[in-house]
């Protein structure tokens, strides 16, 4: 037993001499998480990160069987779902965890927003977070096409056509996005490259920066708590907060596993570029509010085509949210600035109402 102890000590000293990991340990020991009535929101970032880790693991596993071509993609996913042992489980977890990740990300984004955690010096953290949000939606959009089924085919036709409404450069962008004039096998390989290589590379860089910034600036204490004299207590990140994080992650894993087991991911019908869009077609729930908006917009608003107005409005709303640290600066007289909060609340309410309408309004009415 003693020899083992000595060997372990020697090994850890050998590693320490070369890596200097104790510096990390010292940083971890110093990290404290303030405890107050809004502490619960601090768990959402870590939860998103955990669900992302599930995506990486299951995504890598899916690559072992997936074949990115218009003639084989659907069949390869079908084979994975029916013949490969636990193939259905891996794909269902990938699908469910992606949905949960985006849901948790929405809560993370809007809780940070409403608690005004984007105030300097955490403005750069906010910008990287918004960029990560964009990348995550791009993950969702590109991944949706990969099984090459009918729903995905039309969602991609519509989604890429939206790029085409950008004035002047739209047509060029549309061809680059589709890899040609129409959604075809060329689009599939392009989306595959983006989904499995480009976005992962981008997200690793941005996520690294985001987590570093969170570490550097510590957790933001909401202004409302600060006005009451700040938080009275704090929790050491290691091990207390991390262990609480773990409980949440285990719960999330259990939920994802249960959802995957009871509601496995569907595959639908194979994409057919010469079949009409099926009635009741709809995108993933997180794009539903945009989809429903596009349904309600008339053909023309003044002299501009309706969808151009809609897409421009979404762009402006996203830009306003992105610029929250600038727009939400406190006023000169030191009183808090509520403009951006009201804009944000408006955006949230709009998204919720249109999403509900998307699921309840008749598709043919």
């Amino acid at each position: 037993m003693r020899t083992w102890d000595r060997m372990a000590r020697d090994a850890s000293r050998w590693l320490e001499d070369r890596l200097g990991l104790s510096a990390l340990g010292r940083i971890a020991k110093k990290k404290e998480v303030p405890v107050h009535r809004h502490t619960i929101w601090y768990y959402l970032g870590g939860m998103t990160l955990f669900l992302f880790a599930i995506q990486v693991a299951t995504g890598v596993l899916l690559l072992f069987y997936y074949r990115p071509s218009a003639t084989e993609a659907y069949e390869s996913v079908q084979f994975l779902m029916t013949d490969v042992q636990f193939g259905w489980l891996i794909r269902s977890i990938h699908s469910w965890a992606s949905n949960l990740m985006i849901l948790v990300l929405f809560f993370h984004l809007f809780s940070v927003f409403l608690l005004r955690a984007y105030r300097p010096p955490r403005d750069l953290t906010w910008y990287t977070g918004m960029a990560l949000f964009g990348i995550t939606l791009a993950f969702g959009f590109t991944g949706y096409l990969l099984p090459w089924n009918q729903l995905a085919f039309f969602a991609t036709r519509v989604g890429t056509q939206i790029v085409g409404v950008v004035p002047w450069i739209g047509e060029g962008l549309l061809r680059v996005a589709r890899g040609g004039d129409d959604v075809s096998g060329a689009t599939l390989t392009r989306f595959y490259a983006i989904h499995a290589a480009v976005l992962p590379a981008l997200i690793v860089i941005l996520l690294g920066l985001h987590v570093y910034l969170v570490q550097r600036h510590g957790m933001s204490v909401p202004p409302s708590v600060e006005r009451e004299g700040g938080s009275k207590r704090s929790l050491p990140f290691v091990p207390s907060f991390l262990l609480r994080d773990l409980v949440g992650w285990l719960a999330a894993l259990a939920i994802v596993a249960a959802l995957a087991a009871y509601f496995p991911a569907e595959l639908g019908e194979k994409a057919d570029p010469f079949a009409p869009a099926p009635a009741g077609i709809k995108p993933e729930w997180y794009f539903m509010f945009m989809f429903q908006t596009l349904k309600y917009l008339p053909a023309h608003i003044l002299w501009i085509e309706g969808e151009v107005v809609g897409v421009a409005a979404f762009g402006i709303a996203a830009l306003l949210l992105f610029l929250a640290p600038v727009i939400g600066r406190p006023r000169r007289d030191g009183r808090p600035n509520r403009v951006i909060t009201w804009i944000g609340v408006g955006i949230i309410v709009y998204m919720i109402v249109l999403t509900i309408l998307g699921y309840t309004a008749s598709p043919t009415a």
Partner: protein
């Protein structure tokens, strides 16, 4: 005095040299970045696909097979078209891509209209956008019945 002059001269020429070297380095670095970005950008733009030059297609269905108040999709080169027989018995054909956001339209016999399921766009039997978000009418094809074949052509 002379020594000071010489020193300032040498500092001056050193700073000019430094500026020149920086300029050379900066320009070459810029050139290097451009020489990587240009081919990469061109690589990402897909090559032009040869557009189908055929101005007509002959469908493999006989006109008698198409009942009144029905529609079906056919291929016109690489694009989908929709052939409908109106309740009055007329044969008409349009490009099947919705002018809103590019979904493929279908014929709805319950309302005798061409309909796009994606965003609930309606076109009448003349391909005119009459309800919902589509901004323009569908592009019309010519339909010629030659014996028991249907020949679809682009409108000139």
């Amino acid at each position: 005095m002379a020594a000071e002059n010489a020193r300032s001269k040498s500092t001056h020429s050193a700073s000019t040299r430094r500026r020149f070297v920086n300029w050379i380095l900066g320009t070459s670095a810029g050139g290097l970045v451009l020489s990587v970005l240009y081919p990469t950008t061109r690589y990402l733009i897909p090559p032009e696909a040869a557009e189908s030059t055929a101005s007509t297609v002959t469908l493999q269905i006989s006109p008698d097979e198409i009942g009144p108040n029905t529609g079906q999709i056919f291929r016109f080169g690489s694009r989908p078209g929709i052939l409908i027989r109106t309740p009055d018995g007329d044969l008409r054909a349009y490009e099947a891509m919705c002018t809103h956001l590019d979904c493929i339209v279908q014929y709805r016999d319950d309302i005798s209209r061409i309909w796009c399921a994606c965003h609930n766009g309606h076109y009448d039997l003349n391909g005119i956008n009459i309800q919902g978000p589509p901004p323009r009418p569908l592009q019309r094809f010519t339909v010629n019945v030659q014996e028991d074949r249907i020949v679809i052509g682009r409108e000139s």
